[in-house]
Symmetry: C2
Subunit: 342 residues, 2 copies
């Protein structure tokens, strides 16, 4: 590794998102001078390749963050709460994929296409948003700028990857069981995921919405700086491996035709418009998988209400919903000269 780069740490390196962070750093040729892979004791000693060289996973502890410029955290909210203070104290800038700090008013919660300016206020910690909220906000940003967002009704088609590598394995195992003529067993998810859909596997809060839905409501409002945005999400799991889809209806303050929205979205960052009416080709999670961009299509007007548009999006949960957005934040910090001097 060259010395002309940043000293990185990836916490949760063996998880679904951690592994993707390594792949994204490679794809982007992010300037890395050193890379420390951290995970639980259980995973310590495992080897992971980075740029075709094996790296050994180390056990996560408070001392692991010395001489680190950027620490990516993707090991769940509990570990983020426990270890991020040490990482910050050691001088690292932390990009946290967990929900632990997202809604703290002083912590920037950032999708680079949506609110990059919020990075300027960081004090060593930037939160990476919930995957469904991140994917949703990419098309919402230009629509808001053009016509003023008033209300968003969204139903999700969320993949297994959002619940981690084990959940993806469970979907595959259940499909194998089906092929063998055996009854699929649910261990990671509360219900069978193969050949089924179910309400998102997070607890329902007192307001009647599950945790995932409440994250979508709160994080979308925070990133768009629209605390009064009307949000009505329904979060549903579907038997897809790694990309989330969302059926979205937006009501705007000012009129915006479907044609105007299509044109606007097609020249907005982080978006590929896939709206091929002739060939019946629209955003699909299979095609979004591996893509950094959010696919947007089925863009059409509400037939019975003015200032209302419907569209369908698909975005890679592990990339734009997690690893790519995290690395993109790191790139933005570099570009804006917002990393600490080492």
């Amino acid at each position: 590794m060259s010395s002309s780069g940043y000293r990185l740490a990836v916490v949760g390196a063996t998880g679904a998102v951690g592994v993707e962070i390594l792949r994204v750093l490679e794809r982007r040729a992010f300037p890395v001078s050193s890379l420390r892979l951290l995970a639980s004791e259980r995973s310590a000693g495992k080897q992971l390749d980075f740029n075709n060289k094996p790296l050994t996973v180390e056990a996560l502890n408070d001392k692991a963050f010395e001489s680190i410029d950027i620490a990516f955290f993707s090991a769940g909210a509990t570990r983020s709460r426990q270890f991020i203070p040490a990482a910050q104290a050691a001088g690292a800038v932390v990009i946290d994929n967990s929900s632990a700090f997202r809604m703290k008013p002083e912590i920037p919660l950032v999708v680079p296409e949506v609110n990059p300016q919020d990075l300027a206020q960081h004090a060593g910690l930037i939160a990476n948003p919930n995957c469904s909220a991140a994917i949703l906000c990419v098309p919402l940003r230009p629509l808001h700028d053009a016509a003023g967002l008033k209300r968003v009704v969204v139903s999700t088609y969320q993949s297994a990857s959002g619940a981690g590598a084990q959940a993806m394995e469970e979907l595959k195992e259940q499909v194998h069981s089906f092929v063998r003529g055996e009854k699929p067993v649910a261990k990671v998810f509360p219900h069978q995921i193969a050949f089924n859909v179910f309400s998102h596997n997070t607890a329902i809060a007192a307001n009647g919405y599950n945790e995932e839905e409440n994250k979508m409501i709160e994080e979308t409002r925070k990133m768009l700086h629209l605390p009064g945005l009307e949000m009505l999400p329904t979060c549903i799991r579907v038997p897809v491996l790694r990309a989330h889809s969302e059926s979205v209806v937006v009501e705007t303050e000012r009129p915006l035709s479907a044609a105007q929205a299509r044109e606007l979205l097609s020249r907005s960052p982080g978006i590929k418009v896939v709206d091929d009416v002739e060939n019946n080709r629209f955003p699909m999670p299979l095609e979004a998988s591996g893509d950094f961009d959010v696919l947007v299509g089925r863009i059409r007007q509400d037939l019975s209400r003015p200032n209302t548009l419907a569209f369908f999006v698909a975005g890679d949960q592990l990339l734009k919903g997690a690893a790519w957005n995290a690395v993109q934040i790191a790139e933005e910090l570099v570009k804006r000269n917002l990393l600490r001097k080492s």
Copy 2:
């Protein structure tokens, strides 16, 4: 077979819906004195069991409807247009599962829980609605009666069965391919259905909505007798075998709390409320499969707009969305003495 029953014909007997009609007639112990199975030349000669006795499938032709009291048609719109006039001329009352006659003003389009009174005007032909519209209307009816429906926004999670037996086979085959490490092949659907979701495989009309969505709009309005009902559907296929799910948002004229709606729906015909917050158990297509009822849950209020409720439904596409509704219409015709005298 006893002579104290009706003389039935099933057109499209070897199809996904046709086979289910036989099973539903058995489950309901429908009074059958004779049963004629009709299908294309290709399927003629095949044998199907009914009440544990083998019946031979005959080739469909204009002469096949003599001495038939009730003819169930489930062989697509083209065959319905071609053969229903002959069936009616021969004196049969036709229950047509195709879209051929659904929107003709003089033809009743009926879900027995929704608009059974429309059966009285029949002139030998009753249309069975689109599966997604039928499943949706069951909970909409009591909500409308209680609070006045103004607007319905719905995103569907539609199973392979809606595209027929071959589509169900394709989903299974693609899963087998995946397990063998081969690339799944799409023949029936335009895109891979295993591990994917996609916009419904019908053509997009000039208004920007696909055929399935336009059916949902028009048929829901017709069945509820609400020509001005605001409808915004998004129809999406998911890798599920035989039950459709729908994420629904309704705006009503008058207030209705989630608790009131739950209580109302739980005592409405054709509905099972599955709304178990504690165990995270809500309507799922796997559990709706084989059930005559529509499962309804996740009943909650919009947090930011009055008179608006959200809920999630799952209903067996082949049963409430097709075969069961058709047999239920036949039962209703018997009960209301609306069959022709033979």
